[in-house]
Amino acid sequence: MNPLLRRLRADLFATPADGALSLGLIALITAAAVGLVQWATQRAQWAVIQANSTLFAVGRYPADQQWRLWLLTALLTAATGVTWGLLRCHPRADRDGTLWPRNDLVVLALLAAVAFWLPWVLQLTPALQSRWWLLAALLAATRWLAGRFGSQLSRPVLRLFPLVWPLIYLTGMVLISGGLGLMPVSPSQWGGLLLTLLTSSFAILLCFPLGVLLALGRRSDLPLLRWISVIYIEFIRGAPLITLLFLGQNILGFLLPGGLAPDRIWRAAWVLTFFAAAYLAEAVRSGLASVPNGQIEAARSLGLSYPQTLVRVVLPQALRVALPAMVGQFISLLQDTTLLSLIGLLELLGVARTVMANPAFLGHSAEVYLTLALVFWSCCAALGLGSRALEKRLDPQTLSRSSSQP
């Protein structure tokens, strides 16, 4: 018998009861899929998304300043392409030497498809459409260049390259908020995907060092540091995020001298940061616990100082173990940004709710919310996939397996 058929039979029709169950499920899934496709192609009216695509993307960001965001996107695209290419040409024993491994081509094809399909679906103007294509081309070009010539870069250049990312982040902050000769755009005009990505990336970047410090504190030999960390972590983890956002909006103003309290958006971003740090600390702690004591002893006996031991020996091992849990926390942080809509900020979900308040779009909430769900799902799933890939790349054990097999 055909192996595929045999596999199907073992999986679906092992016993009569199993067979009945399988048939029932197949019927159910088919019905659901057909219903969904029919709805999406016939009854749904996607005009609500098309008409508001700018609002969803950037909120009320002034139209004549949006070129700054395009510039930032181009910078990010180029940096992504170069990083991607450099990762590929960095020598690793488990890597095949081709310039374009198959999965890279697949990913690029997918991205290109999105770059073509999305502007078409959103019925963007030709000017905007061409920008999307340019971005896709930029990604492919930088990826190719870095993959082709990256191996010729000298070691110091390669080591300094990651600094490009914080630089772009700072540049991005200036581009978004203005200053340094650019017209200022007040945070109340930021919105949509821009605000979602801004707050979540801000919180992810800052909660990381904070979480590591808290985790170290919790495992410290010094009782005071331990207790401070424990109290902070447990306090934050005991309270719902919405009550903390509430604290940030209503009470933070009382805790700081007049005028020192930041803008509402930044307050929320800081609350997200402090919130995520407590959860991240727990993830890092499990990683720290997995590093044997002998590692610290060996490092100390070689003369490394405590900070050197931590940075060069303990953390690289601990963070690798903690990586899946940490990315899990980042994923929930990204999802938690939706709570900003409950305190009146117009991130993606907030924009969606204001759009739904417009009577012109009455009865089309399903289109909007399903689209948002798809956006969040893709972002989170991509983060999860990326973390799994990174985990594999960082694990010397997979390396040993792949090279010890003849």
């Binding site: 006996s301 070689l302 390396l399 010890s404």
Partner: protein, 245 residues
Amino acid sequence: MTSSPNNLVIEARGVQKWYPNGYHALRGVDLSVHRGEVVVVMGPSGSGKSTFIRTFNALEGSIRIDDISLGNDLRQIDAIRREVGMVFQQFNLFPHLTVLDNLVLAPTLVRGRSRTEVQAQALSLLDRVGIKEQAQKFPGQLSGGQQQRVAIARALCMEPRILLFDEPTSSLDPEMVREVLDVMRQLAQEDITMVVVTHEVKFAEQVAHRVVLMAEGNVVEEAPPAQFFKNPKHERTRRFLDQIL
């Protein structure tokens, strides 16, 4: 600084050690080690051998000598750690670094030497312990014996004045014990001061200048190997030798 005429490197007198749980692990240990000497420490499990040689490396605290607390100066502790190398039973190689980087890490960070210079030295050390080909591999890809030899090379790369071994062959398969002992023998001939905790009697007989027996947190007997194994003075040593020989 007490620089004695006969090149005393380690001088421990009346070393005491309490663990945080109150256990009195070392109860006044005396030991002197001279430059270039190889001292083998033996003793039953739990007698405090590991605790004792770790005090040299300031991994354990609260050493007292003649009723005066010592080893509390953080700067001197760091200095000692730079000058004393240690090889552990469990190897304790850094799994996230290649073999070469394991060797290069400390000299560049602690002594501030240039990477290229240390790399050359590391490669020659790896050559000396017979695993130059494995320099680019990760520790997880090596056998136990190879890992322990890397650990020895790593300790040597810091150019220590004293090398401490805590049961370096105890977690190795029998056929790998020899390759590690061979390396240690070779080191002993090169005039490196070594304190070795081990139960390898043959190694002690051939290489050691002195053998020390520890029991219940004390040094019971201290003698050249010939005398220690053939003609021990103390009843406790005799009983111990009966068990391991």
